[in-house]
Amino acid sequence: MRLTIKITLAILLGVVLIFSVYSYLSIQREREQLKRNLSREARHIGESLRVMVTELWQQHGEEEALGFLLRANQGYSETLVRWVWVSNDGPASYQPRVPVAHLDRLRFEETVTLMAASDEGHDFLLTYLPVLLPGERMGAIELTESMAEMHDYIQESLRRSAIVVGALVVSGLLLMTVLGSIWVGRPMRKLRAQAERIGTGDFSTSVNLSGSDELAELSNTIERMRGQLAQARDAEQAAHAAKFEALEKLRHTERLATLGQLSAGMAHELGTPLNVIAGRAKLITREGMALEDITRSATIIHEQAQRMTGIMRQLLSFARRGEARKQRVDLNLVMRAVLPLLEPTLNKQQVELCIDEAPAELLVCADSAQMQQVLLNLILNGIHAMPDGGKISLSSYPAAAVSVPDGFENPDQSWVCLQVSDQGSGIELEVQKHMFDPFFTTKDVGEGTGLGLSIAYGIVQEHGGWIAVESVPGKGSTFRVYLPVDCRGELP
């Protein structure tokens, strides 16, 4: 129910109550007044008749007196006048309409006024005036007046009061509905719409209610709140953008640092073909070379240049700083993509890399370049843990029974795992606690940024996954990267 209707009903209820009580009291008062008037009138008539009846009784006897009363009765249309004996043994025609017991006060020569109801339910006002007769006989003049007129009057008063109350309720409701809609409903709708807009993050529209009432004050408050929220959101967006940019820069820096680690191997990869190209070119420039040899040298130069181009492309595609772009990727392809980048370093460090791909596609929604970065960081970490060479196992598989850490619980989510195991020195428990912290490194100064694992962890977290570590000091470590399976349909 609308607030204005509730308030209106409450006010109307109060008004109706007060008015009803007032009307009731007024009607009661009028009723008493009418009764008194009727009674007074009856007494006046009765007094006059009593004097006459007493006179006639004394001078002409009972018959004349009672005859006078009968005649007098015909003179009053509204009042019935009768003679009654105040005793139970009188003739029935002269018995009072009420039991004699109610008329005791007549014996003290007091006038008695009574209300009585007939069997039909009509009310009457009975007035008895005592007449003391010789021989101590007690008689009385009974005046009966119908209360029907008074009842009609009261009914009319009640009807009018009811009409007034009804009109009051209807007009009050109508008036309050119209005014309530103008004064309360409309501004409230505006404020509600504004609150809903603010709730959905739309701070562009302003709402100003004119006037100086409570709703106008509320609108001003909402306006101030809108401004503050818009400012806070702008600040938050700016901070978020700055943080994002800083993170991107940091990741790019780390990517370049990874490239730096790979560069020694890459230098070897590039140095050899470059050597062949330079040598073959020099051979060609020398005089006296057979055409056949020149053609052979040129072909070799072309092949070697292509080999170098391939290496350069791999390096550039990894180093290039691109927009983070998540799409459906097969983790097996990510594993294959890091191989050429790592091969020279693996050879240099005499580390054997065994790859065990899942037989089926492992689709995740991920940024392929970022996932390569994660894998490279983990594998390079493994290579560093084996200074005298060894074996690194890289495998991918759907993770069936996995203990999901807090915050990742989702019964409907399936996970896939990328696993990197080395036979290195292992990681002490104390180091494991901090290994994903930024700038935490166990390497010598200048050998590592201390950001590799923390950035890898950040990337995996951003992809909705986590990295688990299992390590036995002296035997090796296993890093498992868990990522949520991309369950969308066969969308591109």
């Binding site: 230098a267 050899t272 470059l274 050597n275 062949v276 040598g279 051979l283 070799i300 005499q350």
Partner: protein, 140 residues
Amino acid sequence: MEAVCIDLTPRVLVAEDDRELRELLALVLENAGYQVCQCSNGEQLLTRLKEQPAIDLVISDIRMPGLNGLEVLARRNRHLQQIPFICMTAFGDEQTHRKARHLGAAAVIDKPFDLDDMMTLIAHVCLRNERIKGVDHENK
């Protein structure tokens, strides 16, 4: 007086896993009048040296499958230590250079190298070795 015909052409053994570079070096060396043998990994190099020690110079890549150049250097016996080694490396760091020299390499050259520089180096090493051999003979 009996005339004896001695083959004075220096014999060079080239060990390099990259076929193109190996063949290029062999071609250039042959053109320059050297006798050239080739092998593509450390084990082959060591076996060849043990079976046919009459080699005047070894040119070996450091990074090779199986045994690498440094390991071959380390495993030479006293006799083989007479044969000068020129090591080629693309890793180029000071540590590798130091390690190779420490193990007895006559010279270490960074890839990519200029072919003429390489030939000069080879000639220089061969000549120096000849001189050392000559001194040894005189001493004997």
